[in-house]
């Protein structure tokens, strides 16, 4: 008989549109992080480190990179006879076929998957945060409270609480009220989008609300359960937790890893973060190289200068190139004598010789001022930048670009250059 006490359902179908061109070809959970990892590695490693060995990963938007990354779950020890990792895309049904229309709708469409494992509890996770959390501790808390639902919450500064969904609790941390982005927050406990449900409660709610359009946990399932009197508790999490949903926070979270002793330390033996290792060989640092304060992935070759940056695996930084305050993902080539300042360059991109990235004054991005901000240059995966061009701040580039795309060999601050089509 098959029985798993707790299984996890990981919502990994979102586009993460605020990451701009970084998520043009990949879902947000598959975006690279920290010179080696992808964002989904954090919840997946948390699962196996917490003893959760059955994980359904719900995919929808651009799943190919995610699929190859997860494979059969070998890196996380999630290749199991019973359980392990399963990738769950939307599928065709005999009566109706629909995409995942909301977080809870996605889970509802996989009711049979969950039933198969006969769980007592279901853990709902997102794929867009950097953190280490022991879900088993949350489960113990859930059991001790005889809760129906436990929400993981994070204390945030009260003045920032209005950006979050906050919960108001009694002295036992039982939740009395929810407030979504309140103007005058009465609590500083922000919901992290991590839930443990007692299985019968989740099952009942999903079935009752199955016809709710775009059924969502925060908007529909939790309020429904709250209304009918479920015991909902807030678990207070006090560790490092970083939302990497915007280019600014994504850049910042990467840069924090470079600190002498980072708050979020990947070098501890305890609570390892696992990933699909794409390259094994060591990195080479040449005679001509100069590196101060950086983390650098496997098999990269550094001939130029690297200051305060996160460099992925298989990257080549050619002689005379200077990279400062930047994130360079796997297999990028930085041309000779090119200077890169405060840029995010996604995988397999080739930057020509003698370019200047991230120079001059800031100007708001003309197309998506909220996305391409923070003074960053953002370049999508598989792009090509020709030799000798100058690129200003708050810019975005994607695709194979040529000299003719750059009037006066320049892309001014605030411009966006997106070339689509097969490459």
């Amino acid at each position: 008989m098959i029985k798993k006490e707790m299984i996890a359902m990981l919502l990994a179908g979102g586009q993460g549109s605020r990451l701009g061109v970084l998520t043009a070809d990949v879902a947000k959970p598959a975006v690279a992080f920290g010179g080696k990892y992808r964002i989904i590695d954090f919840p997946l490693s948390n699962c196996i480190n917490s003893g959760v060995d059955t994980v359904g990963v719900l995919t929808q938007y651009q799943p190919l990179r995610l699929n190859t990354h997860i494979g059969i779950g070998i890196p996380w020890d999630l290749d199991r006879n019973v359980g392990g990792v399963s990738v769950l895309p939307p599928y065709e049904k005999s009566t109706s076929s629909e995409w995942y229309t909301g977080t809870a709708n996605a889970i509802y469409q996989n009711l049979k998957f969950m039933e198969y494992y006969n769980p007592d509890y279901v853990l709902i996770l997102g794929g867009d945060h950097i953190y280490k959390m022991d879900y088993e501790v949350v489960l113990d808390y859930h059991k001790a409270n005889k809760a129906d639902i436990t929400l993981a919450t994070l204390p945030v500064p009260l003045e920032e609480a209005s950006r979050f969904g906050v919960v108001i609790t009694d002295e036992n941390k039982q939740i009395l009220e929810f407030e979504e982005k309140p103007e005058k927050p009465r609590s500083n406990l922000a919901s992290m989008g991590i839930y443990i449900f007692s299985w019968p409660v989740l099952r009942d709610a999903l079935i009752k609300l199955k016809d709710q359009p775009a059924c969502d946990f925060g908007k529909h399932i939790i309020p429904y359960c709250h209304e009918k009197g479920s015991r909902i508790f807030a678990y207070e999490f006090n560790g490092y937790w970083k939302d990497v949903g915007t280019l600014g926070s994504y850049w910042e979270a990467n840069m924090e890893l470079i600190d002498l002793i980072p708050v979020f330390n990947l070098y501890e033996e305890f609570w390892k973060i696992y990933t699909h290792t794409e390259k094994i060989p060591p990195q080479y640092v040449a005679e001509s190289a100069l590196i101060d304060k950086a983390i650098i992935g496997e098999a990269s070759e550094i001939y130029g200068e690297v200051h305060n940056s996160v460099i992925g695996a298989g990257v080549v930084i050619k002689p005379g190139a200077v990279v400062r305050d930047s994130i360079i993902m796997n297999d990028v080539v930085i041309g000779a004598n090119t200077v890169v300042d405060k840029s995010i360059i996604a995988e397999n991109t080739v930057i020509g010789d003698g370019c200047k990235l991230g120079v001059g004054e800031e100007a708001p991005n003309k197309v998506k001022p909220d996305v391409y901000a923070f003074g960053l240059v953002t370049i999508g995966g598989d792009s090509v930048i020709p030799d000798g061009v100058t690129i200003g701040k708050n810019t975005a580039i994607s695709g194979v670009t040529e000299s003719s795309d750059y009037p006066n060999n320049e892309l001014a601050a605030g411009e966006t250059l997106i070339k689509v089509g097969d490459r």
């Binding site: 080696k36 002498l260 070098y267 101060d292």
Partner: protein, 374 residues
Amino acid sequence: MMKAIGIVLAGGNSNRMRELSNKRAIAAMPIAGSFRGVDFVLSNMSNSHVQKVAVFTQYNAKSLNEHLNSSKWWDFGRKQGGLFLFTPTTTPQNSYWYRGTADAIAQNLDYLKNSHEPYVIIASGDGIYKLNYNKVLEYHISKKADITVVVSKLDERDDPSRFGIVNVDSDDRITEFEEKPIGANSQLVSTGIYVIRRRLLIELIEKSMQEEKYDFVKDILIRYRSIKKIYAYKMDSYWSNISSVESYYRTNMDFLNPEIRDYFFRQYPDVYSKVYDLPPAKYNAGAEVKNSLVSSGCIINGKVENSILFKDVFVGKDCTIKNSIILNDVYIGDNTHIENCIVESRDTIRANMNYVGKEDDIKIVIEKNERYAL
């Protein structure tokens, strides 16, 4: 290729490895920052689509067994083939260790008898090279050879007395085979890679056992060279044997050469190894690295020059590491100077130490300190 099964001879030890062999068999020696010796032969097997491989271990096999804990790292199957580890065990019929390479095969003759592939590829675990064994097999078949020995040109920096030296006729048939001669009259060395028909190997091994002869090279290759057709397959790509401290050091340092690095690290096919889940290398203020290889998990606070840092090495502030090899999981305290040395793995080197070897006499550093929470 389901035409051949593989045998990897990885039981060996050598006093030429000095203190380095106290800890592990040669095949388990860390190489080029992120690999171990045996990874090269196993990757070659896998990349040649040899799907069933047995590794024979004997001497100090703990490191090797740990490294070979899953067939997944080299992409061997589990049902159609797989990776097998044969360490000597006592049985009612036999209470000996492997008395030689032929005896090792004899004690596991069932592995040969129960396979159906017509050929066997035998290779040692201490060679650093890339080779498509199918090419050797094609050659073996075209020559109608009984045994094919892969040979390489002797590196002029190396000592012929470590090798088997072969002489060939105009057709590349081996006429002379001399094991570890003092002076060599040929520049062709055996790489310890052989191709042979499975049934012939079983027959030769069984005959040797009846005659109580236990060494594959001495008692089979050399003894049979005039009555069996033994051919030499000349390999002209990079090949190096690591079973002496000098050649081990030199082979590692070869990876600082851009052509050799490109050949092994970037050109198809890849070399595989067990994955250790270490974070990327970290350079803190004060790090100054020149012409060196740095592996994952390293944290660098000092100077590193013409050196190879293996996995998980910590270099303290104001250190100088020069022309040296620092093996896995070594912590080096502040202000320590290390030059022309090999630092043994899992060691903790105290602060303010000074270890200097010579270019032609590499020093092996072993402190054996306990490491407390650092």
